[in-house]
Subunit: 307 residues, 2 copies
Amino acid sequence: MAPSSTFTTRLSEAARVVEEALAALLTDKTAPGEIARPPRLMAAMRHAALGGGKRLRPFLVIEAARLLGAEGQGPLRAGCAVELLHCYSLVHDDLPSMDDDDLRRGRPTVHKAYDEATAILVGDALQTLAFEVLADPATDPDPAIRADLVLGLARASGLGGMVGGQLLDLSAEGRYGRAELGEADVRLLQAMKTGAILTFSVEAGAILGKADAGTRQSLVAYGRALGAAFQVADDILDREASAEALGKRTGKDQEKGKATLVDLLGMEGARRECRRLVEEAEASLDSFGPRAQILREAVRFVVERQV
Amino acid sequence: MAPSSTFTTRLSEAARVVEEALAALLTDKTAPGEIARPPRLMAAMRHAALGGGKRLRPFLVIEAARLLGAEGQGPLRAGCAVELLHCYSLVHDDLPSMDDDDLRRGRPTVHKAYDEATAILVGDALQTLAFEVLADPATDPDPAIRADLVLGLARASGLGGMVGGQLLDLSAEGRYGRAELGEADVRLLQAMKTGAILTFSVEAGAILGKADAGTRQSLVAYGRALGAAFQVADDILDREASAEALGKRTGKDQEKGKATLVDLLGMEGARRECRRLVEEAEASLDSFGPRAQILREAVRFVVERQV
């Protein structure tokens, strides 16, 4: 099913305002409380964070907040924070000692365009900036909301979330001893590495929209199912797509002997699992009725994306 | 002048409770909101953060807070956050593409004891945990204080602070083209790389102690002078000390052709500057009278430390 024109308009509008806001955050001009901004670092940070991507995570923040009546600077800034965090993880994951990638979205990775030390610092500074953006009063006048956002992003991205998942992913290559992953291990790894931040993106919208506990829980359930669907779809895509279409190397998981859900469930089983997760995500939105149409389309978009 | 017994008792007591609190934060047991903690990552994080150091930064948080009547979990947790941030910066600075150090406090650095990928992830996760600790309600029931702490740490440690300073430090080696630093450049670099976090440590105590604007400003001025004194003393030490006494390579700045204040002011000039900064730090505490005796001793301790 093709996405509605409302959906595609909202998605590209979110990408546009996020790009603009990120560019404003990453200028050479110092912000209050800063001593100076080294131009080389700023240029490399812009290389890492600007000019690319669908901005899916900010889109989820913005649309989940909108569903609850919250719009404007808050969701935009929280969306930028999640995107900065996501970009930091890409820069560090691409490093020679990690996944060793030369290309990202068809452009040289940061350590290729600059150097390894700069790339490490770029990732470090993007992470810090994500938390700075969330804690800044410009994001929300209510400090309880800002502290809640910081705590949620930290839990989703740290040792018990994204970074822990990346360590498990490296272990899955057999770097740290023999590794044979079962279905439960692969699901855990994916929930940590990519799922936690996607789930938090939706939860951030709930926090900004001052959702009650039940509403927040429904949105978190939606985010979890969407995150899992995203990763199964990614495994399927990795197996199928051509290097040209993706602008990055593919079949990499196979190359490294890493088990994916496609190995464990078979291609048909993975497709079935993907459809099941889409339905689960949609069902989590039932209580919102037709107002949640954009989020329903989002999960379908996530599994059907070709780039 | 030898430090008072009150001072040495307080310093070692702070180190003890901080060590204990850090160990509790870095267990293998998952915290609320986390999916799982990979044991290898946790062991490497403990290697990076436990069992060493004077814990100067937490000590400053704790003593600045105590001066304003704040004690207990708040200053302890904020002190742990600053120490986690400091440890992350050491792990990343030691990496082969950065300062390429094999030893830290006489023990193998994280990338030597584990591997480079793990060391990058350890630094990443230590940074995240620092922000998580600050944003957690256990640090202070008032979310405005928690958000203020997060914002302050982010500004001190990000692109306009510590990480920016590390980039300038790498540039000072001539990596990114010819670099001839004057006195102003060296002072800027040091204020960013090490000064900002030391200053924030003192400011965190002011935030937790609910200081009024003038009191907070006095403590920030104290922290700035202390941070600058720390760095001049470090430059002097680097030139003088033997490798055995320090447990790390010394004379490194000279080796890499990096200008320090000792080069620019001469040894005697650097010693004079150090004394001037100590007096400036002490003068910033005048309004507190004898109650600030521990902080006065702290700045003298910082310039006289032999390890």
